[in-house]
């Protein structure tokens, strides 16, 4: 790890102020990705702004009307085990319980995962399929505009996620084919239906990160049933190929995971 200056902050405002003064600073949330990246010297921030002392203000789960608000510093373990999330959006609680392993879930945060936008991370698919709104210290960004590419988001330098607001869907499910070694999604598909609107988001597969599967959405909007997906398949174009799975296999998995997710969302 390269040398950095360490700052402890107890509020989002102080964190943002410090970030403005330190151009190469990074926010430290759970650190489950940032610290391993720094160990490998793939990241070398000049300063770390530790948000953990601000957890009390930046973490927490609240149901307000037909929305679930989740604070940026809320740990995966707390999302997975929240009665409120389990009741309102069970698919989201299940997704959180599939991330990493128990020790990682105790530490990793939703804000950190969403800000990092790892192409194989789970949360970005939930944000996109559920049409979540990402709140920052400056503005609100819709999920459709937030995820802009591989490890890239609409966040500006020094901009900090404060919470994520998920509209409660009428039906939703997440199905993941985990890489057998890393447990990251080789392909993960999040399907959500709210009113007539159906959204299908795919993680783990796209070479530019999470994306919506338009053909699947159109078919499922006509009829939200697995039969509507007969003859619908994903294209291998723009998908990742690596030693674990080539693009054609990933395209196939998208279809399989989508079908399983629709069945699950329909209680089958």
């Amino acid at each position: 790890m390269y040398q950095f200056t360490y700052h402890r902050v107890d509020s989002a405002r102080k964190a943002a102020n410090l970030a403005e003064k330190n151009e190469d600073a990074k926010f430290l949330a759970g650190g489950m990705t940032l610290l391993p990246t720094m160990k490998q010297r793939l990241a070398s921030p000049s300063a770390l702004i530790d948000l953990n002392p601000a957890s009390e203000k930046l973490a927490g789960i609240e149901v307000k009307g037909r929305n679930v608000h989740i604070g940026a510093m809320t740990r995966h373990y707390d999302v997975a085990n929240s009665k409120d999330v389990q009741e309102a959006i069970p698919a989201l609680a299940e997704l959180a319980g599939m991330i990493g392993d128990p020790a990682v879930r105790h530490r990793g945060t939703i804000g950190g995962s969403v800000a990092n936008n790892d192409p194989a991370a789970d949360y970005p698919s939930a944000c996109l399929a559920l049409n979540a709104t990402i709140h920052t210290n400056k503005r609100k960004i819709s999920a459709d505009e937030f995820f802009t590419g591989l490890f890239e988001t609409a966040l500006e330098p020094g901009e900090l996620i404060t919470k994520i607001v998920f509209p409660v869907p009428s039906k939703a499910a997440y199905m993941k084919f985990p890489n057998p070694a890393s447990r990251y999604a080789m392909v993960g598909v999040f399907v959500a239906k709210k009113g007539k609107d159906v959204r299908v988001a795919v993680t783990g597969a796209g070479s530019s990160g999470v994306f919506r599967a338009g053909k699947f959405e159109a078919a499922l909007t006509a009829k939200f049933h697995v039969k509507a997906l007969e003859g619908v398949s994903a294209s291998a174009e723009g998908l990742n190929s690596d030693i674990h799975a080539d693009a054609a296999y990933r395209a196939h998995l998208i279809g399989v995971m989508a079908r399983r997710a629709v069945n699950k969302a329909n209680g089958k």
Partner: protein, 156 residues
């Protein structure tokens, strides 16, 4: 160098450390508590699991400075008055180790599983919950038996 203070195994400790110091380095190098092991240093293997404020964490992937004021328990903190913790005893009884390198992390994770899931654990639950801990010797079979036995013993 910045200063950090925390409670480790019931004792107040502090040290002036490089900001890059990981919790596991603070435990092993500064405090000389070498029961916590470093297997992979990439948060895969779980040899470094300790409890921080009652929850299992991988101490190779958390900065010591971030744990100012925290309450840490390591494998050295489980036994009381020279008597092994029931989970340690269960690992011994069931021959749940061969080389022993993963054992501290296995035991700390196992106690955490019991804290979260209770004293009656089926095999499937144990195997699933241990997915963040790797053992390259045993094939896990005796570890699973030990966790089930240790969990029951912890109820007594």
């Amino acid at each position: 160098m910045p200063k950090v203070s925390m409670t480790v195994n019931g004792k107040e400790v502090s040290g002036n450390i490089d900001s890059r110091t990981l919790l596991v380095q603070f435990l092993r190098d500064t405090l000389r508590l070498t029961g916590t092991h470093v297997g992979c240093d990439t948060s895969q293997c779980g040899c470094c699991v300790v409890h921080v404020d009652g929850k299992a964490l991988k101490s190779c992937t958390v900065l010591a400075l971030t744990l100012e004021g925290a309450n840490v328990t390591t494998i050295e903190g489980l036994a009381t008055d020279g008597k092994l913790h029931p989970m340690q005893e269960a690992f011994r009884e069931n021959h749940a180790l061969q080389c022993g390198f993963c054992t501290p992390g296995m035991i700390m994770t196992s106690v955490d599983i019991v804290n979260r899931k209770g004293n009656k654990l089926d095999e499937q639950t144990i195997r699933h919950e241990l997915e963040g801990n790797l053992c390259r010797c045993t094939g896990y079979h005796n570890i699973v038996k030990a966790v089930a036995a240790g969990a029951e013993a912890m109820a007594k």
